[in-house]
């Protein structure tokens, strides 16, 4: 663990994030917290799960970019593994910043951790601010409904929202589609408890055959595709935007299918 921590520290030092002398960036990301959380992520990514990563070369080494993919698994396993892949496989490593669900910001400890590791609340203002500063954003356009997929729906793909595409157009950001598989095997949700979730301040509580949504050490795969670039202002009509959203969704579907054909 100690050796891992020093290796993680070395990678954190190579991130192209404008940290100040105190190891803090303007969005409240702190080196110390990155080292801690990526050390834990390393254990999950390298030892607990078996993660296959394909096409990481499609993620640009620097400059603004948006990772757009499907949700897989009852909670953020998919997001964590994409973060780990970009951090441990890329040279230099890149920090993925996700657009967090609003309820996370209201939860004690969770809000603290997400804020210190670069995951801001999913608001257009935050996304634009990050992209204008050439950060790497991760978006799941299926939204929270995506993580609510049950085991037998695990490889389905829900409708995408349009917000991400308008933001990409507005900021001139390339979209890197990815397909994620295996989250539903790690956390095979049989039912989501919505009422209990409400009382706990989360959208729902996923339940697996063994009760709690503790993931089992499954085989996971993430496949990145070639960047998609769209020209526009972000102010186009819904129909025009929707056609481009469908292109992104088709790309994600295709990457998921290619992953399935492999396994």
């Amino acid at each position: 663990m100690l050796r891992t921590a020093s290796r993680v520290r070395e990678r954190v030092d190579r991130l192209e994030i404008p940290f100040d002398a105190q190891g803090l960036d303007p969005f409240g990301i702190r080196k110390k917290d990155l080292i801690r959380s990526y050390t834990v992520l390393h254990a999950l990514y390298r030892h607990y799960f078996t993660v296959g990563v394909h096409g990481i070369e499609h993620v640009p080494p620097r400059g603004r970019a948006m990772l757009v993919g499907n949700h897989s698994g009852g909670w953020a396993v998919d997001a964590l593994m994409v973060m780990a892949a970009c951090f441990f496989e890329m040279e230099p490593p890149r920090l993925v910043q996700s657009m967090a669900d609003k309820f996370l910001g209201a939860m004690p400890f969770v809000s603290h951790l997400t804020a210190r590791t670069g995951h801001l609340v999913g608001l257009p203002e935050n996304a634009v601010h990050l992209l204008e500063r050439d950060r790497l954003l991760m978006v799941f356009p299926e939204g929270a409904r995506g993580t609510a997929k049950l085991y037998w729906e695990r490889n389905s793909l829900l409708d995408f929202g349009t917000g991400f595409l308008r933001l990409a157009l507005q900021t001139g950001t390339p979209i890197i589609p990815f397909g994620f598989l295996g989250g539903g095997d790690a956390i095979p949700t049989v039912v989501n408890l919505v009422r209990l979730g409400k009382r706990l301040g989360v959208p729902y509580v996923p339940v697996t055959p063994w009760g709690l949504a503790v993931p089992r050490p499954a085989r996971l795969s993430v496949r990145f595709g070639t960047p998609l670039r769209f020209e526009g202002t972000g102010n186009e009509e819904d129909g025009w935007v929707l056609r481009r959203v469908e292109q992104v969704r088709d790309a994600v579907r295709d990457l998921m299918d290619r992953g399935e054909a492999r396994s």
Binding site: D20, Q22, L24, P26, F27, G28, R30, K102, F103, G105, A106, M107, P108, F109, V110, S111, H112, A115, R116, L120, V121, L123, E125, N126, H129
Partner: protein, 307 residues
């Protein structure tokens, strides 16, 4: 230029006056609080800005620039009185500006008007809606005063109005929201939350106000900030205090006891979620940049207020 400062006797008001005099401006102050050791070239009239005597100061001095920093917070006054001082006082200042031919009015407001919430953007630009009154009723009068001042941009087109929304002030003096919160040896926080805080040295704040008062052609609403925002826990450690994280349901009952500061309930939201502003517009318009960084500012406070 002839500059009138309402609220000149506050620590920042005094710094602003000194800076302006050093740059050869003529400065007159209006404040009910005295400033006994003011330099002789700064005249301070001990009158209330809402009263007839203040109008007489406008009439005789005929200021070209008026700086309004005579607002108070919930730490100092009751609700009713705050509305009278903050909202009616602001109205009196803008009315007097119109009647006596002032060319510029600078309203010194606070960044907390944007409010703290889990679903608010991290960086507020000037067009962010002021949400503070929804969660923090004790700020509603300041929100109203800020918006009233901003209205002057279209209501009094001949007047160059500058509304500043400035981050927390910190430094050697002990007045102000953040210094009072940090004064005791133990500082309560909400368990599981560590929001970003944004503050600037009181001297930098004074320089920003002076710059807003004299920069040619400036008008509009501007956020003003200094060093980068930092987590509350770092700030508390930086001023040599001990952080006492308390579960939120317990915190309300503990405030004001056991040597912990008194805070209204609404303030708890500001201990959970950040209020951070984007000050790019002000820096671009005036070229302002802070002299003191975060550690220097915290040290200035810690040295003046040892535990």
């Amino acid at each position: 230029m002839r500059v009138l400062i309402a609220g000149i006797s506050s620590p920042v008001g005094r710094h602003v006056a000194e800076i302006l005099v050093r740059h050869h401006h003529e400065v007159v102050g209006v404040d009910r609080r005295p400033w006994p050791d003011a330099r002789p070239e700064i005249r301070v009239h001990p009158v209330d800005i809402r009263k007839r005597q203040a109008e007489e100061v406008f009439r005789t001095f005929r200021p070209e620039v008026v700086i309004h920093m005579a607002t108070v917070t919930h730490l100092e006054r009751s609700t009713h009185e705050r509305y009278r001082i903050n909202l009616h006082g602001t109205r009196s200042v803008f009315d007097a500006c119109a009647r006596h031919g002032a060319e510029r009015a600078v309203f010194v407001g606070r960044h907390t008007l944007y409010g703290a919430a889990p679903d608010a953007p991290l960086y507020h630009r000037e067009d962010s809606p002021p949400m503070a009154s929804t969660t923090f009723p004790e700020l509603a009068d300041l929100v109203a005063a800020d918006l009233y001042a901003s209205q002057a941009l279209w209501r009094q087109p001949a007047l160059d109005t500058v509304v500043l929304r400035i981050v927390y002030q910190l430094g050697p003096t002990s007045v102000g929201t953040l210094p009072s919160y940090l004064r005791g040896p133990r500082v309560p926080t909400v368990l599981g939350f560590d929001p970003l805080f944004q503050f600037m040295h009181e001297r930098d704040m004074a320089r920003a106000v002076a710059q807003a008062a004299t920069h040619p052609g400036l008008r509009g609403v501007f956020n003003v900030a200094g060093p980068r925002p930092m987590p509350l826990s770092d700030l508390i450690r930086g001023v040599g205090r001990r952080r006492v994280p308390v579960p939120e349901p317990v915190l309300g009952g503990l405030l004001g006891r056991f040597g912990l500061p008194r805070l209204p309930r609404g303030a708890i939201e500001h201990l959970k979620h950040p209020v951070v502003v984007d000050d790019a517009a002000f820096r671009e318009a005036t070229g302002f940049s802070a002299h003191y960084d975060g550690p220097e500012t915290m040290e200035a406070f810690a040295r003046a207020h040892p535990v």
